[in-house]
Amino acid sequence: MFDQLSDRLQATLSEVRARGKLTESDVDAAMREIRLALLEADVNFRVVKAFTKELKERCLGSEVLESLDPGQQVVKIVNEELTGLMGGSGRELAFSSSGPTVILMAGLQGSGKTTACAKLAQHLAKGGKNVALAACDVYRPAAVDQLVTVGGRAGAHVYEQGTDADPVEIAAWALDRAREDDRDVLIVDTAGRLHVDEELMAELARIRKRTKPHDVLLVVDAMTGQDAVGVAESFAEAAEFDGVVMTKLDGDARGGAALSVKAVTGKPILFASTGEKLDAFEAFHPDRMASRILGMGDVLSLIEKAEEQVDQRQAEDLQKKLEDDRFTLEDFLQQMRQVRKMGPLSGLIGMLPGMGAMKQLKGAEVDEGELDRVEAIILSMTPEERVNPGVINGSRRKRIAHGSGTRVQHVNQLLKQFEQMRKLMRQMVSGNMPSPEQLAQMGGGGAPRPRVRRR
């Protein structure tokens, strides 16, 4: 996500950096690039104007001109301003101290409310909350069925009265039931509605009045264009929403419009929805996202993700093995499975610092089928072969290829890659970080040396 915006800013700022000393016309040129990039990223034109104006003033200030490395300083300022634009540091949901916490979800049709409801329910249930959902979309065919299904998958109870009741009454009834059943959280799903539909906007206001939600969340599709600001303003008026859930962030939309929602309404983005599966939902971190836009890497998110998935003891074992140079194909298989649990690899690569600039890694979507093949090949080896790949001779290679439904070339390629990886690991253990070229080469398996942009 945001890949292209990050490219533009990086390209612009690397020019500024190369000059060493910053003149006013340098700043103007950089601002023009940033303005264009932001507009192309669907950031609302009003927001872009205000953003670059403030940015320029800060860039021309003494803190930049007097600094040893003005380019670096501009990066820092853009990062800070972008973080500000997206809502400062992260904010949590407000939970009620007594009785169920009510969260009302609202948004346009097709923005992803029902899915976001289930994801939020699962997210909160994981944190130990007893969560229920209220099915108040009586208009879209089968919306109630959908919520019942995905809610059930998320481990949340769904209060529904079919499609004949009034949504306001359903919401009030569900709240009563949630109180009786002693739920911690009630998430109210509502029908998608156009912000210009007065009747439905009034209905939303009535649901709000009756249920007195602790938080109203506006669900915003990350692909929304300039119209997002008008939508947000209307919803702010009718539903007085407190925060935003950004959906479909796993696509390649730059998501600028949803960011401008914050700038125009003052409401922060609380959650990011990033995939088809129910657990593809996370707290939104404006500060990390800004760093990511600038290509400084979202390392914190990556570490958090890894910590969630990787067993601590396994990690220690692995560390020990690396130190002793005892890393085997079996460990490689475990590692690969561990990493794949974190989600699609293409998403993870974007989070690594410096990788944003590596075209060949970015364009090349990581082929998950390739990884299946690697798994199959290793699984077709005997335990001895996995520990000591040196014994794999020609006839063993043939057998492995046959067993895994691949070709001997694939087996050869894997063995070669594994050898390269062990070499890199020995380097890392001895304290030398491998260069990006080496890392890329490891993935490409002897592909031509990639050209990496240098600063």
Partner: protein
């Protein structure tokens, strides 16, 4: 019918089916090939009911290609005139899901040579610059013939279809202007241009 999640594929299919059966007296079969999203088939069933069309569906999680295959079979057996295949919404960045879509198209072509005769992508009028990318990737995967511009009843003008038409030469064929069966119209370039410039 293809497109990104939440752009209005199923609703559009309901409207097209109603139009074909109501105005032209054609027999329509709908194929619920969105076997992924919860209750997607139920949603399409409701539209089939409203439009007087027949529905072919499978178990949740079933093979979308098989649903399309069966639908064409059923349409042949019953002498139907049109089959409309609903597919699961997918982000164009999900390579495996785009491959799956290509497979559905190939299955349709094998089952009925020359089909699909029309592949439509639904684009949400509120979509920004990303719409162009969506259209391009979908066109690469399944050879899109036209755009249905949905949700034009809001304040969004759908300007991105201008880029889609000029860069990819994919015309807008239909516009969606509401949630009722009759809220579907042929695209009128003059009207669209006037609306864009109306400020």
């Amino acid at each position: 019918m293809v497109g990104v999640n939440g752009t209005g594929k199923t609703t559009t299919i309901g409207k097209i089916a109603s139009h074909l059966s109501g105005e032209f007296g054609l027999r329509v079969v709908l194929a619920a090939a969105d076997t992924y999203r919860a209750a997607a088939a139920e949603q399409l069933a409701e539209w089939a009911d409203r439009a007087g069309a027949e529905l072919i569906r499978s178990e949740p999680g079933g093979d979308p290609g098989a649903v399309a295959f069966d639908a064409i079979d059923a349409a042949r057996a019953r002498g139907a005139d049109v089959v409309i295949v609903d597919t699961a919404g997918r982000l164009h960045t999900q390579g495996n899901l785009m491959d799956e879509l290509g497979k559905v198209r190939r299955v349709i072509g094998k089952q009925l040579p020359g089909a699909p005769h029309e592949t439509l992508i639904s684009i949400d009028a509120t979509t920004g610059q990303n719409g162009l990318r969506q259209a391009k990737v979908f066109a690469d995967a399944v050879a899109v013939d036209g755009v249905v511009l949905t949700k034009l009843d809001g304040t969004a003008k759908g300007g991105i279809v201008l880029a889609i038409a000029s860069e990819l030469e994919i015309p807008v064929k239909l516009i969606g202007t509401g949630e009722k069966l009759e809220d579907l119209r042929p695209f009128d370039p003059t009207e669209f241009a006037n609306a864009l410039l109306a400020g």
